[in-house]
């Protein structure tokens, strides 16, 4: 049974590690400025934890086989432990875990502490059961007033958000179900939710943030590649959670301007 255990534990370790190392399933291709930082921290954590994983499972499998009961001939080391060893591995673990944590901190700080830079594209993202809406403030750069009493989800877009057309600032606001962003420009996100908590998850932007009713949350990211990226909802929001998705189109600045102009024209 000792040998069987060794084989089983080593096999589990090998197969699990193989699929990580071969990157059979890995983080999706990233296309934002934070991708290299986050992916590097992930790879580093993976490497260090992978080494510990293989070492610990390897030792477990080896020990149970090596120290199996071989009858009375087996000599047992009578020992209650070894304080020096305890101190060494406690210190090593503490350095490993806390060091890893400190290394990741600057990335977190740059993602979440600093406000969006001047000149970034303002977009308001609103989650509601079960759709994402994106609002652009128009030429005046100001988001107009919305009124909960005016919200009509069945009508979609502007009406779904309850945009109050009596407000001059609301007149040029554009609301869409598809997100457009210019490439290589930071987006200044304002996240809201009207009913329950949703989570704005764009795997390829390495971006995730809950949208919480009652809170207005400011975030930012910068897409770096033209393309189409899927948006998911990552917080359980009700029966349609699995199909609450949207699409992010990252386009060139000209295409973005053209798209905005077309939408403005449609609105008038």
């Amino acid at each position: 049974m000792g040998l069987a255990l060794l084989v089983i534990i080593w096999l589990i370790t090998f197969v699990s590690t193989y699929f990580f190392a071969a990157k059979t399933w890995w983080l999706p291709h990233g296309a934002s400025t934070s991708t290299p930082w986050i992916d590097h921290q992930f790879a580093l954590t993976y490497l260090l934890m992978g080494i510990v994983f293989v070492a610990a499972q390897g030792a477990l499998g080896l020990f149970v086989w090596q120290y199996r009961d071989r009858g009375t001939a087996t000599k047992v080391t009578y020992s209650h432990g070894n304080t020096r060893m305890e101190v060494i591995w406690t210190a090593l673990t503490a350095i490993l875990f806390i060091g890893l944590n400190l290394m990741g901190s600057p990335i977190w700080a740059s993602e979440r502490f600093a406000p969006a830079e001047v000149g970034s594209v303002p977009v308001e993202v609103t989650g509601m059961q079960f759709a994402w809406y994106f609002r652009y403030p128009g030429a005046d750069g100001k988001f107009g007033r919305t009124d909960p009493k005016l919200m009509d989800p069945s009508a979609g877009n502007e009406a779904a958000l309850g945009l109050d057309t009596a407000d001059p600032a609301a007149k040029d606001d554009i609301v869409t179900g598809t997100m457009y962003l210019p490439v290589n420009r930071q987006v200044d996100l304002t996240l809201r939710a009207v009913d329950v908590i949703h989570s704005f998850f764009v795997p390829q932007m390495r971006f995730k943030q809950d949208a919480v009713p009652g809170l207005i949350i400011h975030m930012h990211f910068t897409p770096t590649e033209v393309g189409e990226y899927e948006i998911a909802c990552a917080e359980l929001c009700g029966l349609g959670h699995y199909k609450m998705h949207g699409m992010l189109h990252v386009v060139s600045q000209e295409d973005f301007d053209k798209w905005l102009a077309t939408r403005e024209a449609e609105k008038q």
Binding site: P28, Y67, V76, S79, P153, E230, L236
Partner: protein, 576 residues
């Protein structure tokens, strides 16, 4: 003490007093155990229905019919709640703790036998209440076991959010009350009823684990109880603790100014210690068994005790790591993240000490030991994904994905369950006076170990690839489609693994009546439960009061006549 002695000088007669409303901690322990056994099969059945729905969304199942996406969410809510409360909290602590904590410290019963009985029957009422949620109009709630507000606090946020959700939170509140009673009993018993010579530092690590778990329960369940009452008020009396101004499907609700994050703080202030409530007893059992079956003292007994305390203490300072993406201030993430990494240190110490215990020993591969070894393997695997999730920056890709589901299933789900299997195979002879079948035990072990890895290891890959958790189908998002074959594999693995649990149940009940008779100490263990008759008499030690002279893990002591020194052996047997 005097009271419990009077109550217990005569064993009660009659079926109802003896087996139903029993005051005997052993009977109550078994009641908890069998309640958890029923609950775990309900929970497993729900998980199989979920996995089947993920792969064959339109399949029409016998008895159940077609599972709708909202039904899937009800299944996952009930699966999580039943497993966490009625299995992971109930069996290791209420079951084994109740049965063996008093015996292992040399007490005739728990400190408060009536409270103990009440605690079980309150748990039972909670279990019936949660099952009732399946049968009311609208069905069971769909807000997940974490019940995030406002989804859980509004009655029109989805199917199951009417009476079903009220029953859900009521059940949890009742469970909290039961757990508070149990926790008080465990703490008092450990502090006051230890036999002569049973100093704190001679207590088996199982007792330490149950003791610290009880302290965690006492501090955590009170908070959840309050949180649950506020949720009931929001749902039924129009208060706004958790609900700000919200518009549900075009309808402006009457609530104003509440905070959805308040629920998350209160819930996780309970929820994170709860993780340790589930796993600490398993750690205790693993320590006990690794020492016993390696025929070697536990490596670093004191370090193990301090590690249990450190885990318990730090366990209350890490709840915010569930909320890095919640909209909570990003500055707090630093503190919560650092504390979380810190709690990895005592966990690692325990793992090193388990390996150190096996090293240089003489390992006997009886079924209980196989499960203890499996526990260590799963604890390592589930533990090492922790440092990923503890880093806020890695939560950006990983939070609320299948990676998290894989992480907590390995460590607080399957590892804890391996602790229970280990405990069952180990203590079965003491509880029922017969041995379980070894061959079937081994077969059950191999299938369960390999099977659970096949189910839960791939979840990490899915999470890395961005598969969000709590998705009933993967057809809506194009980037998830290539993950469907892996999901299929996991479903097959789940069906095989769940089917293999029948081996365990058959072995359990068959051995109860037909297994070979067990001796008083079949594993040649050292702790007090092995000094008494099998099964133990009503007052545990048949009128004797044990006196303890040795530490709990004196195996292979040089110069001793046998390779183990019982805790009650005379001091002259061995000097150490």
């Amino acid at each position: 003490m005097a009271t419990s002695a009077t109550i217990h000088s005569h064993a009660p007669q009659g079926f109802i007093r003896k087996y139903i409303f029993s005051l005997d901690h052993k009977v109550i322990g078994l009641q908890y155990y069998f309640l958890a056994l029923v609950a775990v099969f309900v929970g497993m059945l729900l998980s199989i229905l979920m996995r089947v729905h993920m792969i064959w969304p339109t399949a029409v199942l016998p008895l159940v019919g077609e599972i709708k996406p909202e039904t899937y969410l009800s299944l996952l809510t009930m699966h999580g709640t039943i497993m966490v409360f009625f299995v992971l909290t109930t069996a290791p602590q209420g079951g084994f703790g109740n049965y063996f904590l008093p015996i292992q410290i040399g007490a005739p019963d728990m400190a408060f036998p009536v409270l103990n009985m009440l605690s079980f029957w309150t748990t039972f009422v909670a279990f019936v209440t949660i099952l009732a949620a399946f049968f009311v109009t609208g069905g069971a709630p769909l807000h997940g076991w974490t019940g995030y507000a406002p989804l859980s606090a509004l009655t029109n946020s989805g199917p199951g959010e009417q009476l079903g959700a009220d029953l859900w939170i009521t059940s949890i509140a009742i469970f909290c009350i039961a757990s508070l009673m149990g926790a008080l009993n465990f703490i008092t018993t450990t502090l006051d009823l230890r036999a002569k010579g049973m100093t704190m530092m001679r207590m088996p690590l199982t007792v330490w684990a149950w003791f610290v778990t009880a302290i965690l329960g006492l501090l955590a369940f009170g908070v959840l109880l309050s949180a649950g009452i506020l949720l009931l008020l929001d749902r039924n009396l129009g208060t706004s603790f958790y609900i700000p101004l919200v518009v549900v499907n075009g309808q402006v609700m009457g609530h104003r100014g509440g905070s959805p994050l308040l629920w998350q703080h209160l819930f996780w202030f309970f929820g994170h210690p709860e993780v340790y409530i589930a796993i600490l007893p398993g750690m205790g059992v693993a320590s006990q068994l690794l020492s016993t079956f390696s025929r070697k003292p536990i490596f670093g007994y004191k370090a193990m005790v301090y590690a249990i305390m450190a885990i318990g203490f730090l366990g209350f300072m890490v709840w915010g790591h569930h909320m890095f993406m919640s909209g909570m201030s990003p500055y707090t993430a630093f503190a919560f993240s650092l504390m979380t990494m810190a709690i990895g240190v005592p966990s690692a110490i325990k793992t090193f000490n388990w390996l150190g215990t096996i090293h240089g020993g003489r390992v006997r591969f009886q079924t209980p030991m196989l499960y203890a070894i499996g526990f260590v393997s799963l604890f390592v695997s589930g533990g090492l994904s922790g440092p990923f999730l503890a880093q806020p920056v890695l939560d950006i890709p990983l939070h609320d994905t299948a990676f998290v589901v894989g992480h907590f299933h390995l460590i607080m789900g399957v590892a804890a369950i391996f602790g229970m299997f280990a405990g069952t195979y180990y203590w079965f002879p003491k509880m029922f006076g017969r041995m379980m079948n070894e061959t079937w035990g081994r077969i059950h072990f191999v299938i369960t170990l390999v099977g659970t890895y096949c189910i839960f290891m791939p979840m990490h890959y899915l999470g890395m690839a961005g598969q969000p958790r709590r998705y009933s189908q993967f057809t809506e998002l194009a980037y998830l489609k290539h993950l469907i074959p892996l999901n299929e594999f996991m479903t097959y693995a789940a069906i095989v693994t769940v089917a293999a649990q029948l081996i365990f149940v058959i072995n359990l009940f068959w051995s109860m009546f037909k297994g070979p008779k067990a001796s008083d100490n079949p594993w040649e263990s050292t702790t007090l439960e092995w000094t008494t008759a099998t099964p133990p008499p009503h007052d545990n030690f048949g009128g004797r009061t044990p006196v303890v002279h040795h530490g709990p893990y004196e195996y292979s002591v040089p110069g001793a006549p046998r390779d183990y020194v019982m805790q009650t052996d005379p001091p002259t047997v061995a000097s150490h």
